[in-house]
Symmetry: C2
Subunit: 324 residues, 2 copies
């Protein structure tokens, strides 16, 4: 059974207004009363209507698609790689990319989306913050795809990594090299990506020692302090699983000043991972698949939320293969 996509006519019927009025709201034309706008937006939300980008652009007389890319921080290597991949995927459709960083402040994320909407951005790719995203669905049918993390309070198209499997692979790999006391270094566990990576870690270990589980550390310097603290325990970990690139870099920072040589596996590849001695073993994925998956979903909106999962693999470079 296929679900029929709701049309503008459906929205008009549901809202009890004319098709032209729906078109005015969807195409952000002036001269629509606030009352009518709210009525149409409610109908759009209730029916899960997503406008046809190509048709909408033609209707506005515009010739080029503009995609808004909303991220945590463009200067973090994960996001600059993602931005480049989205740019390349968008260029295949002659689309431009507007970007903005919200620095893990949900209210700034909302401001960014509002201003992109006001400026006529056609659709959005969002790496959601940990805040609630229910408000985003009310944006007059602006097509949105979330990537890397599930948005809270919003059913929508998403492109996620196979985070659970990544967590399992990394931790099992360390176990296979003889490690039993494996620490977890991660940031905000409310993010679905972090949550799933941590779940993989727990599943691989059975019952981890909770004193070795660290959540909520974001920057490499804080990570480095936590790593030192753990290595100073009477029964220290012999290995680490770092759930993102900043955590892996924090471990490298800590080890610069310490005599211990614990094994560790990171999640996210980074440019200098192979320069270190030993090289940094990581869980890796093809970031172009995230970007292309998101753009494909944007250009073919459906009536129901879809999920694309991008596979991960383990890259062995030395740091994950050290003995206890």
């Amino acid at each position: 059974m296929t679900v029929r996509k709701p049309t503008m006519a459906d929205v008009a019927r549901y809202a009890g207004v004319s098709l032209k009025t729906v078109s005015r709201v969807v195409n952000r034309e002036p001269h629509v009363s606030a009352e009518v706008r709210v009525k149409v937006e409610s109908a759009i939300g209730a029916l899960g209507f997503r406008r046809n980008e190509a048709a909408a652009r033609l209707a506005r007389g515009a010739t080029m698609l503009t995609i808004g890319l909303v991220m945590e921080n463009i200067s973090n290597e994960f996001y600059s790689r993602l931005a480049k991949a989205v740019e390349a995927a968008a260029a295949e459709h002659e689309a431009l990319v507007v970007f903005g960083s919200y620095e893990e402040q949900p209210e700034r994320e909302r401001m960014l989306v509002e201003s992109m909407f006001a400026r006529g951005v056609d659709s959005l790719i969002v790496v959601p913050s940990s805040g609630d995203h229910a408000w985003m669905g009310r944006h007059t049918g602006l097509t949105t795809v979330f990537v890397d993390r599930l948005p809270a309070g919003q059913e929508a198209d998403v492109v996620l990594l196979d985070d659970l499997r990544g967590g399992l692979m990394a931790t099992r790999h360390l176990r296979a090299h003889g490690h039993r006391r494996i620490a977890l270094i991660s940031d905000d566990v409310r993010l679905s990506s972090v949550h799933d990576r941590a779940t993989g870690y727990r599943q691989a270990l059975g019952e981890p020692d909770e004193r070795l589980v660290v959540h909520g550390v974001f920057d490499p310097w804080r990570v480095s302090q936590e790593v030192s603290r753990l290595l100073d325990l009477p029964d220290p970990p012999t290995a680490f699983f770092a759930t993102n690139n900043r955590a892996a870099i924090g471990i490298l920072l800590a080890l610069r000043e310490r005599p211990e040589r614990p094994a560790f596996v990171g999640f996210d590849d980074f440019a200098l991972a192979e320069i270190f001695n030993p090289g940094v073993s990581v869980v890796r994925y093809d970031i172009d698949r995230i970007a292309r998956g998101a753009v494909d979903l944007l250009l073919d909106p459906a009536g129901r939320p879809r999920r694309v999962t991008v596979p991960v693999e383990l890259v062995v470079r030395g740091s994950g293969e050290l003995s206890p």
Copy 2:
């Protein structure tokens, strides 16, 4: 004496058309014949007219400024830092940033600018490629600021680093630590930034051994090969000056496999520079000053080209202080 900025009225007089016609061309309204458009664009070029952004936006009924940022490659750390800084500077003026990378292909740079222009971008910040930029001035007065490098064939507002001084500082620092055979690793010397850094190197050395001067290497793996080749010379260099972050990373790559420990200084700071042992000494600058300088110039267009120079400083971390 102050130079009066040319106005739309000046353009109209020069082109022999009405003020309304100039306004139509500048605001990209339809219904202007190709012939008239060319006439107005020639007048704009001849007089060096730059439209007043705030007024132009009001005239178009738009409420928000959109800045196009054209760069070589967003995934290179220099550009992702620049993008973040431009985003922050733009946000202070409630402006959005559209970005695009041209991958050192001048024709792709031109396509990017054309498509940004077609999409209604208000003004441009461009890190120019090595190609000619005379065509860019003919864009109906789209305000453009070039950063990091001088554009060829175009007199325009620019924000540059004090590259000459950076090259001098780095090379003198290595000399002060006893080095005489200092190699230069750089990319495209047609770029004014690279040219000026290399000139600083030459001035500091007097007469460098030309066999130690390497131009035209872009990626870290190629740099690494060149570094190995130089270290294998009968009279090898004892120190290196790397004119950008990729060259510094290439040196680190080469040294991973070699017994020698030559001194080296990079140009451009990078996230992991302090993690290595010894840390990487670099010529550094405040990238926010580049971004803010560019946005300030954009928002206050003048009738004549201006130049802002951002100062540089040497950061001592160990790699530049090794003895010969």
